[in-house]
């Protein structure tokens, strides 16, 4: 699959992120010097705010609070001091501004369109997973820190709740794998969907080996599904749903519908396109005349 040339902004932002992370020590032990707070939409709409040393903070993105600072949640006239531990991520949720500790720093929800979500995900080598409400789950190490460093790219951010059931399709590539650039680049591209193509209702028609860059997808003749490549190894099964659409079911129970956009092409929810693995017949080299012909040698010895 041909790779698009990355846009300059992307490189600039990646470089900036690397520098910022280095300077801020976000990949080293200094990360643990601050706690992060994230409000959800309901809390924001209700006027709930985070105060650091008595000053209300902008609430669209994650808020970093140094461990030495006095932090409080303000709900109208009420003010609740919070003893935040360094490195901890704390969510403030609902109209009541409930405090939820131990939030996963590798996941957050962005209120952004598809392209913006993919661009943000690409900054940190993360995965953007569409949600049923039109927002995107960002999944990847340092997701919160990336949003903190690049609020203009992340847009409005909310904490991810593990109890949410509104994932319209589960992402199926491991976060932090080495393929994010290709994945996101492909995702931004619009696919030329063939309007007259009717996906097969025959499950056997999908059996085969497919590739997308350095990822290999095998749909085996037993109904198994295997994705392997640099940093990725996922297994599961595949089948057809009640609309005869191809669906992947992963070991962890998540499901992912696949679009079939051509006879030999499958497309995942993030836009990654798999093509049937091409057969390359190696060119046959001419015989090297300097190589002795073995029969002649044999006869000489007889």
């Amino acid at each position: 699959m041909a790779r698009r040339t990355p846009i300059p902004d992307r490189l600039r932002l990646r470089t900036a992120l690397t520098l910022a992370c280095t300077l801020a020590g976000c990949t080293g032990p200094d990360v643990a010097e601050s706690a992060l707070f994230v409000l959800d939409d309901e809390a924001r709409a209700a006027g709930v705010a985070i105060e650091i040393s008595g000053e209300a903070q902008p609430a669209d993105g994650p808020i970093a609070a140094p461990s030495s600072a006095e932090v409080a949640v303000r709900r109208g006239t009420e003010r609740e001091p919070i003893d935040a531990h360094p490195g901890e991520v704390i969510a403030i949720e609902g109209r009541e501004g409930r405090v939820r500790r131990g939030v996963d720093a590798a996941r957050l929800v962005v209120d952004a369109d598809r392209e913006q979500a993919l661009r943000f995900a690409e900054l940190g080598g993360m995965q953007a997973i569409p949600l049923a409400d039109g927002r995107f789950l960002i999944d990847g190490e340092n997701a919160m820190w990336t949003a903190l460093l690049f609020p203009e790219v992340a847009g409005r951010v909310s904490p991810w709740s593990p109890s949410r059931l509104d994932v319209s399709n589960a992402g199926w590539l491991s976060p932090n794998d080495a393929t994010w650039a290709a994945r996101t680049t492909v995702g931004i591209d619009e696919t030329d969907v063939q309007p007259d193509f009717v996906p097969s209702s025959d499950l056997a028609a999908y059996v085969g080996a497919y590739v997308a860059d350095d990822l290999v997808l095998v749909l085996d003749a037993q109904g198994g599904m295997h994705v392997t490549g640099r940093g990725v190894e996922r297994h599961g099964t595949f089948g057809l749903d009640d609309r005869a659409q191809l669906v992947f079911r992963f070991e962890n129970g998540t499901m992912s519908p696949m679009r079939t956009t051509g006879e030999d092409e499958l497309r995942d929810p993030n836009g990654l396109r798999f093509h049937t693995m091409p057969v390359v017949t190696p060119a046959l080299a001419p015989r090297d005349p300097s190589v002795p012909e073995p029969l002649g040698n044999l006869l000489e010895g007889l």
């Binding site: 056997a204 059996v207 085969g208 080996a209 693995m277 057969v279 046959l284 029969l295």
Partner: protein, 245 residues
């Protein structure tokens, strides 16, 4: 007669030497795992779309065994009986090692059977081993005057065994064919499998004066003319690619 036996022995010894020494000029290179998988996948999908069974001629891991099978399959496809051609005309053919086949067809049988017949019409697909012991060419290196006759007997036995395996597995399909359909199947076997390259292999010819790989530029041209290989053993399946040092 003694000279002919000597030359027969010599010609076959060329193959034997190649069997023993995988680093010889006739070694058969093993492509990457992905390339092998791609070949199996293409054959499987082709069979599924054509609604035909997929017959996998199994490429053994051992280089010597590879030559043995390549010669056996070559003689079968080129000189098999009408029954053999009829059955071959009903299938898609590919050559593959079991490791690649099992990636796509995990239910494939264990070991390295001669052939695996896969029905790709459903999921899970069915796969069955078609296996039997074939008499080895080692017998032909004795160099006595009866060697030629033994060669012909061995080829007959091998062809009959392979034919029996396939026709037995396709008995139901074969029994449904009208005579015109049988003729069509035979013609397809000739036009498709004999006349063209079979996936995972190249057709090659050993005239006793070196191995000529079809589709390969300038693989022949040896100036000897002394070897002798029985006509029915000359055209064989050269698995994988041709290795040239």
């Amino acid at each position: 007669m003694r000279r002919r036996a000597l030359l027969l022995t010599s010609g076959l010894a060329v193959l034997a030497s190649a069997m023993r020494d995988p680093l010889s000029a006739f070694a058969q290179d093993r492509p990457s795992d992905d390339a092998l998988l791609a070949g199996v996948s293409e054959a499987y999908r082709s069979a599924q779309r054509a609604r035909r069974p997929l017959l996998v001629l199994v490429i053994p891991d051992d280089n010597g065994a590879r030559w043995e099978r390549g010669i056996a399959f070559g003689a079968w496809i080129n000189h098999g009986s009408d029954d053999a051609l009829t059955a071959l005309g009903l299938v898609e053919l590919t050559c593959a090692p079991m490791s690649a086949l099992r990636q796509l067809v995990p239910q494939a049988p264990s070991g390295e059977p001669l052939m695996v017949l896969v029905d790709p019409s459903g999921v899970p697909a069915s796969a069955r081993a078609l296996d039997a012991a074939l008499p080895a060419l080692e017998l032909m290196r004795r160099g006595d005057g009866e060697a030629e006759g033994e060669v012909e007997e061995i080829i007959d036995t091998r062809n009959a065994t392979l034919t029996s395996l396939l026709t037995g597995a396709l008995r139901a399909e074969l029994s449904r064919l009208a005579s015109t359909e049988r003729a069509t199947a035979r013609q397809r076997a000739v036009d498709t499998h004999r006349a063209h390259r079979i996936r995972g292999s190249h057709w090659a010819t050993d005239s006793g004066c070196g191995v000529y790989v079809e589709e390969a530029p300038d693989t022949g041209g040896y100036d000897c003319g002394m070897g002798y290989v029985p006509p029915r053993a000359r055209r064989f399946l050269h698995f994988f690619a041709v290795a040239r040092p």
